[in-house]
């Protein structure tokens, strides 16, 4: 038997291109359905576990999926903003704990999530090194984001401008990294957490600048009257919140109407959750309340429907590939008639010839199996990232 494998190996080595094509075909056709299944399992696990652990999400009326993806996975979707009054409304109802989130800005490609300290307790997030948020201008970084950006407590991180060409826009804020979170194996690992007020400072709703009424430099004053001082555009706005200038930071107007993306509501019990849901059913209601598990379940149903179509396509392609491979072998046998005859004439039995051909097929199938295994291991290793890239981002 070993001899048969030796001769088959020699034949395969000689016909490299034909063998490579055959191995590639068999590998791909066996890899595709397994990889798809892995990804779907991964997406179901990742999406559902977070959705199930988030009881209710409140946001502006519009795409339910966009709202849930932005609130739970900090995706690039931008649901319509609501105001802090939405969170206060839940607080005043005493039916649930409101956790506002504001996910709009990024820093070096990672989402900046503005929220309150309750978010960390709710998700069970612990600080691995450094400390939690204490004053505005600070940030706590998710484990993966910190790893990728090589950040540790004491470093700083600058928020990215929303548009490169918005020269008159908001100044980026240099945030102080005060803590790195423990790995949670969720979207929280890839986020940069700041206090809601810091997110408003990034947006320009809160800012710090020199005391306009005390300006000595005449080039900073456009007009000064008894009751008003108008500053020029030269007035320096602080781009970093430090111990020295924190007192100059202020918010204009009523912070109750400041924007947030959504509110995660954690009801005291099931009954409170149901009563709260009932309060958003009015005709003139501008907000929607969602159970993320239901929204994600709907998304997964669609993915599974697509998966069924893909399975059918893969089956047809697999059948065609198998038939093509059979054809390749049949043609190959016809081309090798003289060679087989020669082997027969030098004394090999028909069984030996069959063994030789079987050994060739076995080697090709085994090589494809190994290759497919390696590829599946790679996919398995990066399932979370691939799921994020394909279904979340």
């Amino acid at each position: 038997m070993l001899d048969s494998f030796y001769i088959a190996w020699k034949y395969i080595s000689y016909n490299r291109i034909k063998t490579a094509v055959l191995v590639a075909c068999v590998t791909l056709i066996s890899f595709l359905p397994f990889a798809l299944q892995l990804l779907l399992n991964g997406s179901e696990r990742q999406l559902m576990s977070r959705a199930v652990s988030t009881p209710l999400v409140i946001g502006a009326k519009g795409s339910a999926l966009d709202l849930v993806m932005n609130t739970l996975y900090f995706g690039d979707e931008r649901p319509e903003v609501i105001s802090m009054q939405a969170a206060n409304r839940i607080w005043d109802s005493e039916l649930a704990l409101p956790i506002p989130t504001y996910t709009r800005f990024k820093a070096r490609g990672y989402p900046i999530v503005g929220t309150t300290l309750d978010y960390f307790d709710f998700r069970g997030l612990n600080v691995e090194s450094g400390r939690n948020l204490a004053v505005i201008g600070e940030c706590v970084v998710g484990a993966r984001a910190a790893e990728d950006l090589k950040l540790k407590p004491g470093n700083s991180l600058v928020s990215s401008p929303e548009s490169l060409f918005d020269l008159a826009g908001v100044y980026p804020l240099k945030m102080k990294v005060v803590g790195i979170l423990e790995k949670a194996h969720t979207s929280d690992d890839l986020a940069i957490f700041v206090d809601l007020k810091t997110a408003w400072v990034i947006q320009g709703l809160g800012h710090g600048h020199q005391d306009v009424t005390q300006l000595k430099d005449p080039t900073l004053v456009l007009k000064r009257s008894g009751t008003n001082v108008a500053a020029t555009a030269k007035l320096y706005h602080y781009t970093e919140i430090s111990e020295k200038n924190i007192d100059s930071f202020h918010f204009h107007g009523n912070t109750d109407i400041y924007p947030i993306s959504a509110v995660i509501a954690v009801p005291a019990d099931e009954k409170s959750g149901t009563i709260l849901q009932g309060r958003y059913l009015g005709k003139n209601e501008t907000q929607q309340i969602l159970r993320p598990a239901e929204v994600i379940d709907g998304l997964l149903q669609n993915i599974f429907r697509i998966k069924n179509v893909l399975d059918a396509v893969v089956s047809v392609v697999a059948l065609a590939t198998v038939m093509a491979i059979v054809l390749v072998f049949a043609l190959s046998l016809r081309l090798r008639q003289r060679e087989i005859k020669t082997i027969f004439k030098i004394g090999c039995s028909r069984l030996t010839i069959a063994k030789l051909l079987a050994a060739e097929i076995l080697i090709i199938v085994a090589a494809s199996g190994v290759l497919c295994g390696i590829m599946l291991t790679v996919v398995n290793r990066f399932t979370n990232d691939l799921v994020r890239m394909l279904f979340i981002a």
Binding site: L117, D121, R131, N132, A134, V212, T227, V229, F251, T255
Partner: protein, 301 residues
């Protein structure tokens, strides 16, 4: 017979140990409450007695409204079981730190529609925002003693939520506190109302709620009790007196003699009405307020 006797002893000992163990397990941890000023500390302590450990980490010589906490202080607030805020913009640091909302109670939120807005005298403009003033809120809400009672009510509600097993005691303590606050409120009204239009000067703009609640005819200046008045401040006061001929200035703390002398030359007498934002050296909030009212009788007699 001896065996039965000894068995009884063992049984009694076993039951004693069992119950004493159960009682030890049932000892509740004291509720750890952090507050931002003394009136809230006083209310929380009056209501909850020994069941709550109330901390005001502001040094006694500092006015809590202008105090800035260190990172360690903020950490202590974050770790507390309950954080009592005064609301109405009291203590600017609160708007610049991260506190867990689930543990935080804004004791004046219930009457936020009664907040008093104060504007900076001078507006300014920069950037695209146009002309604006940094509006603020008057923050000494407890100076209106009926509002103080409402703040105490917000505290009792939250403490009862955290320790429902002592509800009866907490509610009874609150009712007693409310009664005292409202009695004092009535006494101030009785003292002030016959002559409430008498013009008075407040040394600092911290009496807005007090003036509104009791209908006082007061105007504020910015004089510090431990500093000599500058010529500018004296000129400003003289100008104010033209339209507001007051004979009394109300101080937060005992003013230095030179300031009192300057005022006396202008025909203005001084009297202290301590808002009691921090722990008083002697007495408590109510005794300080009672003392304030007694002094006030001089002004409105």
């Amino acid at each position: 017979m001896i065996f039965v006797h000894s068995l009884h002893r063992w049984l009694v000992l076993f039951l004693f140990l069992l119950f004493s163990g159960a009682n030890a397990g049932a000892t509740e941890a004291s509720l750890n409450v952090y507050v931002v000023n003394y009136p809230l500390k006083y209310f929380a302590e009056r209501i909850s007695g020994p069941h709550v450990n109330v901390t005001l980490p502001v040094p006694p010589e500092v006015d809590p409204v202008y105090w800035t906490p260190s990172i360690a202080d903020i950490g202590a607030y974050q770790q507390a079981d309950l954080i009592l805020l005064n609301g109405a913009g009291y203590a600017k640091w609160v708007s610049k730190v991260s506190l867990p909302r689930s543990k935080t109670v804004d004791t004046s939120r219930e009457f936020r529609d009664q907040y008093i807005t104060v504007k900076e005298a001078k507006t300014h403009s920069h950037g695209a925002e146009g002309q604006h003033a940094h509006e603020g809120l008057a923050f000494t809400t407890w100076m209106d003693l009926s509002l103080a009672a409402k703040q105490a009510e917000a505290i009792v509600d939250e403490i009862v939520r955290k320790r429902p097993q002592h509800e009866d005691l907490f509610r009874a303590n609150y009712r007693s506190l409310e009664k005292e606050l409202l009695a004092l409120d009535s006494r101030i009204k009785a003292v002030v109302s016959p002559n409430h239009t008498i013009p008075i000067i407040f040394s600092h703009p911290v009496y807005e709620y007090f003036a509104k609640a009791y209908g006082l005819n007061g105007r504020s200046v910015h004089w510090e009790p431990d500093q000599d008045p500058t010529p500018g401040q004296v000129a400003e006061l003289n100008k104010l007196l033209e339209s507001h001929p007051a004979n009394w200035m109300i101080w937060e703390n005992t003013p230095i003699k030179s300031a009192v002398d300057v005022l006396e030359v202008m025909g203005i007498k001084s009297v202290v009405f301590n808002p009691c934002g921090n722990v008083p050296p002697e007495g408590d909030l109510l005794s300080v307020m009672k003392d304030n009212v007694t002094k006030f009788e001089l002004v409105f007699h």
